[in-house]
């Protein structure tokens, strides 16, 4: 049991639907619908939860994650904001100090930078600097990652910046079921949480083959999202597939890409969907790498000082004598996210496949 697991209740094993859902007919949602459901349930359960952001109100958000919420919960609790990420985060800090539980949306993670001082110097530090007199129980939702031809301002994966900040938690779901359970946990958490939604897999998982049609979520069991309230603890990884040959650490979109590559190459891997990078499920990582003796880390973000560097260091520090090959990283290139050359940038099947070949060579 990791230390953080006790923070969220009820405790659940990954991919196990709660008992309450068993009696109800199976319901399949895409990730957008699952997020919308989590927001709706959180707002029903706690009148202090408010949703704010650019275009989130009447329109329901550019990705529809907040559709219908204003109509249901009123303009006082679901409202549009000025195009001012600094102001959005700052207002959420003030609302949190009042006693609300704000869920601000930053329309794209690429736009979050004007709000960084309010996140890093304020939200993340309130508890510490006031010795817990004031807290910032906010969840900043933001679509992130590429693969949608968004160019450099709608494609970035800036998770490592937030992982580097003491006092912030960073969550990245990879399935509709997880998105709902993790978002409810994040909203109920008394610390500020960055909740990055991999927009490439909003509607269906991604194999890495951009030239093949997208399969909708409803064809996959991970889209079975029970009605009602459930949580997935922050800091607990999900073993997406189980295998003896190699451990692959990934999160968000890349979980599905590596799963597809392994299937294609007939590699039996422990694919560990980290789900939250801070707090990190170090026990699950250690257990798996000690079992397989090989470790590949995959993320879409740029390579240098990316979160993969931290993972690589941790694995090396803790599992060195169990390793049979050097830890490998597959990442995006250290360039801005290109538009027309998106698929040359994206860490796709070739890059992942070659890394797996290398790591499994001996």
């Amino acid at each position: 049991m990791s230390e953080t697991e006790t923070m969220s209740a009820p405790d659940q094993t990954p991919d196990q639907a709660p008992n309450q859902a068993e009696a109800k007919p199976e319901r399949r949602l895409n990730m957008i619908e699952a997020i919308n459901d989590a927001l709706d349930i959180s707002m029903q359960r706690d009148e202090n939860v408010v949703v704010m952001g650019e275009d989130v109100g009447y329109f329901g958000g550019v990705f529809r994650c907040t559709a219908g919420l204003q109509e249901k919960h009123g303009k006082n609790r679901v409202f549009d904001t000025p195009i001012s990420e600094c102001g959005i985060i700052a207002a959420a800090v003030g609302m949190g100090a009042y006693g609300l539980r704000p869920v601000p949306e930053i329309q794209f993670a690429d736009y979050i930078y004007p709000g960084l001082d309010q996140l890093i110097s304020e939200a993340a530090r309130l508890r510490y600097r006031s010795a817990a007199e004031y807290i910032a129980p906010m969840t900043v939702r933001s679509p992130f990652g590429g693969g949608i031809f968004g160019g450099q301002t709608h494609s970035q994966s800036p998770e490592a910046i937030f992982a580097h900040v003491s006092g912030l938690k960073t969550v990245i779901p990879a399935t509709p079921y997880d998105a709902k359970g993790l978002l409810i946990s994040a909203i109920e958490d008394n610390d500020p949480v960055i909740f990055f939604e991999p927009k490439r897999i909003y509607n269906g998982p991604f194999s890495g083959y951009y030239d093949k049609p997208v399969q909708p979520w409803k064809k996959f069991d991970q889209s079975v999202v029970p009605e009602g309230h459930y949580t997935i603890p922050l800091g607990k990884a999900r073993l997406a597939t189980e295998g003896e040959q190699v451990t692959i650490l990934a999160y968000g979109t890349m979980v599905h890409v590596v799963e597809a590559v392994c299937k294609e190459k007939g590699i039996e891997a422990d694919v560990l969907d980290l789900r939250t990078i801070v707090p990190l499920d170090i026990e699950a990582i250690e257990a798996s790498v000690k079992k397989t003796g090989r470790c590949l880390i995959v993320h879409e973000a740029t390579r240098t000082a990316g979160f993969g560097a931290e993972l690589s260091a941790l694995v090396t520090e803790r599992c060195f004598y169990h390793l049979e090959a050097p830890v490998e990283r597959v990442t995006g290139f250290d360039t801005p996210y290109p538009h027309s050359l998106e698929w040359a940038y994206f860490p796709g099947p070739i890059r992942i496949g070659e890394a797996l070949d290398k790591i499994l060579k001996d």
Binding site: E3, M7, A131, E133
Partner: protein, 438 residues
């Protein structure tokens, strides 16, 4: 294309050369100071608009100066808040206490009892009088120079000194730079060292209060130099967009460390005039006139509480001392400025007003000042019993790792173990003072 530059021509050949304007204050060290260019208007001449008036009708208030106390030490005009003598004496007492506290803490820093201090000398009215016009549970988001609010709200001096000393009595566990107080009990937000961040937070708090149908309002204080930050723009914008029940107090004390107000735009306009572009109510007020400060804050509080909208108030004042214990103002400005400041000293002005009313005298003033100094001295001694900065470890070592998150994740737990191990290595017998103060 007639306006296309001839590639062969010398740059700017046929047009005047462009020049960059870098603002420069009127007076530097050694200069004789003449403030006759500062138009301070006449006390009592400004009308007092209805609190619910439309911002666009308030243009003149952004450029004029609300003043009540005249050179004759009497209150003039419609902004006179008509406070009873007892309230005026209370106000004077809080301002005198603030000044006495500043004197003692500044000296304490010079004596090596702490690392840092910031006085608010000359600006006492902008915190004490303004705070008195608010309800005690209205939420304040101050900058680092509003110690007067805590004193006015009855926050125990010993708590302030414990924080300044980072000693074992410090409720903030020695984590914050001295004077970065926090007291939820006194509706006083935790002070940030990052500038102007508190201003849009105050607006967010006010929005929350409005969402909940509460009756409490929020007020924030920010220096004129810090209004240059984008956060201040966000504050003004969110305040006006949501008609938030908030007061944005800009303390224009002329100096931001060594940068005069011109670097925040004061050469071209006033800070109150910022309100006009947003559609906020804007008031420009004599910040050294305690009655005007009270009246303006009260006007804005009434407006906010009536759902009539937010207000931006520029308190026109002068920072009589350095920015902090870390700078020497004689290195960048004329020492004469303080003496020549056309709006005098707020403590003296209120004292003289009370004397003029027949409600005070020099003897009582002297006695009050003496008692304030002695009280601060006595409390300082009490606080010193809890330790001073640098004398041993005042807080248990593990507290360094607490409150990063509500619960301690594994990586911080591991790091805490490492830190404890390092201390045990350095002090094998253990630190006798650890967790118990000096």
């Amino acid at each position: 294309m007639a306006d296309r530059p001839d590639p062969q021509a010398q740059a700017g050949h046929n047009a005047p050369g462009l020049s960059l304007h870098v603002p420069e204050p009127k007076f530097r060290p050694g200069d004789a100071v003449d403030f006759s260019h500062v138009d301070v208007g006449e006390p009592g001449k400004q009308p007092r608009p209805d609190e619910t008036c439309a911002p666009e009708t308030m243009r003149d208030f952004a450029y004029g100066l609300v003043r009540v106390l005249g050179d004759d030490n009497r209150a003039h005009g419609p902004w006179d808040p008509k406070l009873d003598p007892e309230t005026l004496r209370t106000m004077l007492g809080h301002m005198a206490m603030t000044r006495a506290f500043d004197e003692r803490m500044f000296r304490g820093q010079r004596q090596g009892k702490t690392s840092f201090y910031m006085k608010c000398t000359g600006e006492e009215a902008t915190s004490v009088a303004a705070s008195m016009a608010l309800a005690s549970d209205d939420m304040v988001f101050p900058s680092y120079r509003q110690q007067g609010i805590l004193i006015q709200r009855g926050y125990p001096l010993i708590e302030m000194i414990n924080q300044i000393y980072s000693n074992r009595g410090d409720k903030l566990k020695g984590r914050q730079l001295p004077i970065m107080y926090s007291s939820k009990e006194h509706s006083f937000f935790t002070i940030s060292g990052n500038l102007a961040t508190q201003t849009p937070q105050a607006v967010g708090w006010a929005m929350a209060s409005a969402i909940k149908g509460d009756t409490r309002i929020a007020a924030t204080w920010v220096g004129e130099g810090s209004t240059a930050e984008g956060d201040f723009h966000s504050a003004c914008l969110f305040a006006t967009v949501y008609n938030a029940p908030v007061i944005l107090n800009v303390i224009n004390n002329q100096w931001a460390i060594s940068s005069f107000s011109g670097f925040a735009g004061a050469e071209r306009t006033t800070f109150a005039a910022r309100a006009l572009g947003y559609g906020l109510a804007g008031l420009r007020v004599d910040g050294n006139d305690p009655l005007a400060c009270y009246a303006a804050e009260q006007w804005a509080a009434n407006r906010a509480r009536a759902n009539a909208g937010p207000t931006l108030i520029e308190f026109f004042t002068y920072r009589a001392e350095g920015h902090s214990t870390s700078d020497d103002p004689s290195g960048y400005r004329s020492a004469q400025e303080r003496e020549e400041w056309p709006l005098g000293d707020p403590v003296m002005r209120l004292k003289n007003h009370l004397i003029e009313l027949g409600e005070w005298d020099e003897e009582r003033q002297e006695k009050m000042d003496l008692e304030a100094a002695e009280h601060v001295k006595k409390v300082t001694k009490e606080a010193e019993a809890n330790g001073i900065l640098g004398h041993g470890l005042h807080h248990p070592f593990r507290t360094m790792f607490e409150d990063v998150f509500e619960e301690l994740p594994w990586h911080l737990k591991e790091q805490a173990e490492q830190a404890i191990h390092e201390r045990e290595t350095k002090f094998p017998g253990g630190l006798p003072n650890e967790g118990k103060g000096a």
